[in-house]
């Protein structure tokens, strides 16, 4: 068991290195991909700026608090994006083109095998860079002073948030085992995650409930930010439970999907 785990970790490092090498081979592609995120998030920040030209407070949140939330929401998203974006390929075409079987015949876990095909998506570095910048800049503008406990918990909040993103992506990508392609529903889930970039207080209560307990994107940004900004524990104590539940559900669906997979005859 430990030996198998150790082997996977070593492989992951090796394949991550391969990903980094690819970075230097396709330099323009890297600049385009990471730059695309810079532009996207830059314009999203501009939208927040334009909103705050009209009002001083949005749903009880100040300008810098909203930017902190926006920046923080990019960290779990970027971390997830860095390692698991191969799942989009599963939803898009692997089942449709009958190419999935090649992950089943390798001597490693099929999920690991799938993700490791591209373990390092450098595009995500743009997301992480902007997120980090926004969090640090807006945090210091507010004069945010974290307690040692908050400092210790912060990386775990990002990690759990990333796992929630991964779970939702894995769940919707796995639907393709039954529906052949699940790209449209992955897009839909991804669009819903955009709600998490703004304070949940501005949404209708039914939408808030959906984002908290059904597609729990609130736990990737809003809930951790409330804890970091105000120190009030609130919903954040539920984060480990929600993360574990989401991951367990997604993995169960993935396993059933792999077992249900039938290769197309072509």
């Amino acid at each position: 068991m430990t030996r198998a785990l150790w082997r996977h970790v070593r492989l992951a490092f090796f394949l991550g290195g391969v990903g980094l090498h690819r970075l230097s081979a396709y330099r323009v592609d890297f600049v385009l991909g990471a730059g695309a995120f810079l532009i996207r998030v830059g314009l999203q920040t501009a939208v927040v700026g334009l909103v705050f030209r009209q009002i001083p407070v949005l749903g009880g949140w100040s300008y810098h608090e909203v930017l902190f939330l926006l920046g923080f929401s990019l960290l779990p998203r970027g971390l997830d994006h860095l390692f698991t974006d191969q799942l989009w390929e599963l939803g898009r075409k692997l089942v449709q083109r009958g190419e999935f079987h090649r992950y089943l015949i390798r001597p490693v876990n099929p999920l690991f095998s799938l993700l490791s095909e591209r373990f390092f998506h450098p595009d995500a570095l743009g997301e992480l860079a902007v997120g980090t910048f926004l969090v640090i800049w807006s945090g210091s503008s507010i004069g945010l002073d974290l307690t040692p406990l908050q400092w210790a918990v912060a990386p775990l909040l990002v990690l759990c948030g990333a796992l929630i993103h991964t779970s939702v992506k894995l769940l919707f990508a796995s639907l393709s085992f039954w529906t052949v392609t699940s790209l449209p529903s992955m897009y839909a889930a991804n669009q819903v995650s955009e709600f998490a970039a703004y304070p949940l207080d501005i949404y209708h209560s039914s939408l808030r409930a959906l984002l908290t307990w059904v597609l729990p994107f609130a736990f990737t940004s809003y809930v951790p930010c409330v804890y970091l900004l105000t120190g009030a524990a609130g919903l954040v104590v539920w984060l480990p439970v929600v993360t574990a539940g989401a991951l367990a559900l997604a993995l169960a669906v993935w396993r059933r999907g792999v077992n249900a997979y039938e290769m197309t005859g072509s």
Binding site: Y26, D29, A36, L43, G59, D123, Y187, F195, Y203
Partner: protein, 286 residues
């Protein structure tokens, strides 16, 4: 019936436009057939569009919650800003013609070579093939999303004359979206990461077209920049006409003329770039 495989090229006399259109119609019907293979995707596309509209509607309704009924910033009321953002999303559905996607993929895979040996113009084929996509999106996604929001949030009812002006302007915006996506797809000739290019295009168009923030709410220099770009004709222009945000006939003519000008300009630009790209195209044999 002329049995020559290249009737247009081999015949010395110019082909009448109507006959030329007839050559391209099969591409439109084929596009429709492949589209209807995946009917359930319209439901999920609708959910995506509704969620996209809801984000900006909630965001801006929070801004206009306390504004006076006579009109808040930029002359919008809570009702008219909601109508603006919702219709912006509907227009975006009409603009999602997948042309950028498909052109980029065909260039990347080299499939474009197959199209080049046919006696038809590839960009025109793409135009006809995207028409059913636009129509299906309008009927199967746009109308239900509009209906859903009509039930959920108060909207302003436009004047009938403004609706007609909007429809004319919306057709021009669909043409603009086709040209912008064609140009985006053609970047496949110079880079393999067309995904990044498409994402930049999407964000830049959404912002400068006024889909996320009406141009009237932007500060002076930014508004001037957005007005100078062709994207303004994709969302802001049709919605200015729909919501009656214009001064008299001259203003309407100016809005439509600017859209037409950009359609003509981008058509010339994509024709020139298409020729230039073909001259440097290399496809590996298979």
């Amino acid at each position: 019936m002329n049995r020559s495989p290249l009737p247009e090229v081999t015949s010395g006399t110019p082909v009448r436009p109507a006959a030329r259109v007839r050559h391209y119609l099969p591409f439109a019907t084929a596009g429709l057939q492949s589209l209807l293979q995946y009917r359930s995707s319209f439901v999920t596309t609708g959910i995506t569009a509704a969620a996209g509209a809801a984000v900006s509607v909630f965001l801006w309704r929070a801004v206009y919650a306390g504004s006076p009924p006579g009109g808040g910033p930029g002359g919008f009321t809570a009702g008219s800003i909601t109508t603006y953002l919702l219709m912006a999303q509907i227009l975006q559905i009409l603009h999602a013609n997948r042309v950028d996607d498909e052109v980029a993929a065909e260039v990347y895979r080299g499939d474009v070579a197959v199209m080049l040996v046919r006696p038809v113009s590839y960009p025109v084929v793409r135009f006809f093939a995207c028409l059913p996509v636009v129509a299906a999106n309008a009927v199967l996604v746009g109308v239900p999303v509009l209906g859903l929001f009509t039930l959920l949030v108060p909207l302003t009812v436009p004047r009938p004359a403004d609706v007609l002006l909007f429809l004319v302007s919306a057709v021009l915006s669909v043409l603009l979206a086709f040209l912008v996506n064609l140009l985006t797809g053609m970047t496949g000739f110079v880079t393999t990461n067309t995904w990044g290019v498409r994402m930049v295009k999407q964000s830049v168009v959404a912002f400068f077209a006024g889909q996320l923030v009406p141009l009237a709410l932007m500060p002076g220099p930014l508004r001037a920049l957005a007005s100078a770009l062709p994207f303004q004709g994709m969302v802001d222009a049709p919605l200015a006409l729909l919501l009656g945000r214009y001064d008299g006939v001259a203003d309407v003519a100016g809005v439509l003329a600017r859209q037409l000008g950009w359609v003509a300009g981008l058509t010339v630009l994509s024709a020139v770039l298409w020729r230039a790209a073909l001259s440097r195209l290399e496809v590996l044999g298979g």
